[in-house]
Point group: C2
C-alpha cells in the first residue's frame, strides 16, 4: 500500500458524514458541534528508537516536541488548542529523573498556547513512547482543500533544520551541533498565532511534518490542483541542504495558499514568511523551477518512517 | 511512587479548573462545554508483550478489546460514545492480513454503540501497539465521587473471567480454554446502555479495569467513604477463583452505588446485576465479610501492569 491506497483503504472504516467535516485527510479531525463552532481532534506519537533516541534526546525536549507536533496540527487547521490527553508508555517505574523534565517540557509548551493537560493513561511498554491527543476549537476550520489556480504559495519559516540535525548527530556529539539545528529538531515551535490569522485569509494550509514536497503534494491532491515552486525562493535553514529543505521531515512550518485579493493582508503578519511559488492547474504535480531556469516535475519524496509503513 | 502519590504528582501539571470537571481521577476527562452538556475524553492503549501476546490474541479481538476498553470508560461516566481516533504503532508494513481483521473488530464494536472512527495517526514502532482516544458526551456525568454511607453497591456482571483466561493460557492451547474465559478476555462487552441508565439513579460509578478491590478502593477514596462487601454475594464467572474476581483486571464490569431511595428503579434494568454490599463510613477501606462470618480489611490489590509502573 502506498499512502494514497492507505487513505483509500481507511475510507471503508471512517465516518465521513455530517457532523464530521474531515478525518485522516486533514491535519486534524473536524467535527461541527454547532453553527460556526468546530471541534478539532488530533493525535501524534513519539516512539523510542523510531522518532527519538535517548542518546541525544533529553526528556524536557521530548515533552516540548510532543506538544509542538500536536499544536502544529491545530495551527494548520486555524484553531485554538484547548485540552490534551497524554499516554505515557514506560519500560521502567516512573521516577522524577525523567518524568519531571518531560512533564515540564510538555505542560509549559501547551500552556504557552493556552492549552492544558486534562487526563490520559499510563502503561507499561517494552520501550518508551509518548502519545498526545489534543482537542482544539475553531469557528472556521482551515483545510488542505481550497487552493485555487493562481493562488500564492507561502511557507512560514526556513526549512531543513530538523533534518540537518539528524545528519549531524550521526557524526558529532550533541554539543558540537549548531544551535539552530538543535532547536529545529528538539524544540520546534508551532505556528498557532499564524494559523489563527490565516483562517480568515488563506485558501488552504497544511503543516510540514513529513517534508515540503510530500506535504505540498497532499495539499495539492486535496485541493485538486498542482503547484510550481522556485528553487531560489526556498528558504533554507542556515547550513541545511536543499534536499533537507525539500524532503526532510518535522519542520512544523505552515505551508499555505493566499488568493491574490488577500495578499494585502499579509502585511499584518508580524513575522517573516516566505513566498515559494504559485498554484497551477493539474492534480498533485509539483513543478520545480531551478536556478538555471529549468522546469522539472519532482516526486513527492518525504519522511522515511512513513514510507516504511506503507511499502508492501 | 504509589498510585496515590502519582495522582498527587500529576496534580501539579493538570488543569483542574472550570470548565474542566474531572481529569485523571475519573474514568474520563469531563469538560463542560455548555450548560448540561459535557464532553468526555478517554484514552486506552494495548501494547504487544504487555497487554497482549500475538500467540493467542487474534487481530479481530484486539480491535474489539481496544474499542471495548475505551467504551467502558465512557459507560462508567454515563455517556454516549461519539468519535474515536486510532494510533496504530506497527513494526512492519501494513498489510491486509492483520489490518483487515483489526479494523473490522475495532469499527464494528464502536459502531455497535453508535461511535465512529474519525481519524488518528500511524507510526512505526519496535512492537505493535494500539491506542484509541474516544470522545463522548453526556448531559449529566456519573462520577466516582458521590457515594454516601448507606448506599447499595452493585456490579454489572460476573467477575474474574478475564483473569482466569490468563491463568489458562499459560498451560493450555487456546482451543482448550473455556468459551466464557475467552470471551471475557478477548472480546469484553462495554456497558454503555447500563451507564446511560445509571447516570440518573446512581450516586457513583467506576468501571472495573484493574480489579474489583482496586477499583472499589478508588471509588471509595473519591467519595471519601469505605465499603463492606460480602464474600457470598461476589459473582464469580463460572470457573474463576475468588482471587481472580477480587483482584483480576480487565473485566470491564460497572461497579456502582445506588441510594436507598432509588432502589426501585433497578427493576427497570433489563439485565441481571449483582448486589455486593454497602457503603459505610471511613475513607477507602474495604471490609470483607467472609462466608464464615469473619470481617476483615482487604488491601486494594489490583492488576499487575499498573503496580509495576508505580513502584519505585
Amino acid at each position: 500500500m502506498n499512502e494514497r491506497e492507505w487513505l483509500e483503504y481507511l475510507k471503508k472504516y471512517l465516518y465521513e458524514k455530517l457532523p464530521v467535516i474531515a478525518t485522516y485527510n486533514e491535519d486534524a479531525t473536524v467535527i461541527e458541534i454547532k453553527e460556526n463552532h468546530y471541534l478539532l481532534l488530533t493525535t501524534d506519537t513519539l516512539v523510542e528508537g523510531i522518532h527519538f533516541d535517548l542518546a541525544y534526546f533529553d526528556f524536557y525536549s521530548l515533552g516540548v516536541k510532543l506538544a509542538a507536533s500536536n499544536l502544529s496540527d491545530i495551527a494548520a487547521m486555524g484553531g485554538w488548542p484547548k485540552w490534551a490527553l497524554l499516554t505515557l508508555g514506560s519500560p521502567k517505574p516512573i521516577d522524577p529523573s525523567f518524568i519531571d523534565p518531560f512533564m515540564e517540557g510538555l505542560v509549559s509548551t501547551l500552556e504557552k498556547y493556552s492549552a492544558y493537560l486534562t487526563g490520559g493513561d499510563t502503561v507499561r511498554s517494552p520501550f518508551f513512547f509518548f502519545s498526545l491527543t489534543l482537542v482544539g476549537e475553531t469557528e472556521k476550520p482551515l483545510l488542505r482543500k481550497g487552493a485555487k489556480k493562481g493562488d500564492y504559495l507561502f511557507v512560514s519559516r526556513a526549512l531543513g533544520g530538523s533534518s540537518a540535525f539528524l545528519r549531524w548527530i550521526k557524526e558529532k556529539p550533541l554539543d558540537q551541533i549548531p544551535e539552530n539545528f538543535k532547536k529545529a529538531h528538539l524544540r520546534p515551535e508551532p505556528e498557532i498565532e499564524l494559523g489563527l490569522f490565516l483562517r480568515n485569509i488563506a485558501s488552504s494550509a497544511i503543516d510540514i511534518s513529513d517534508g515540503l514536497l510530500l506535504d505540498l503534494s497532499r495539499l495539492c491532491i486535496a485541493s485538486q490542483v498542482s503547484a510550481e515552486i522556485e528553487e531560489e525562493k526556498i528558504p533554507l535553514e542556515e547550513g541545511a541542504t536543499l534536499e533537507e529543505a525539500l524532503s526532510g521531515g518535522e519542520d512544523y512550518a505552515l505551508l499555505f495558499t493566499i488568493p491574490e485579493k488577500n495578499l494585502p493582508y499579509l502585511t499584518k503578519i508580524n513575522k517573516k514568511i516566505f513566498y515559494l511559488g504559485r498554484i497551477i492547474e493539474g492534480v498533485g504535480e509539483i513543478l520545480f523551477l531551478t536556478k538555471k531556469g529549468e522546469r522539472k516535475s519532482l516526486p513527492p519524496k518525504g519522511f522515511d518512517h512513513f514510507t516504511f509503513l506503507l511499502q508492501s
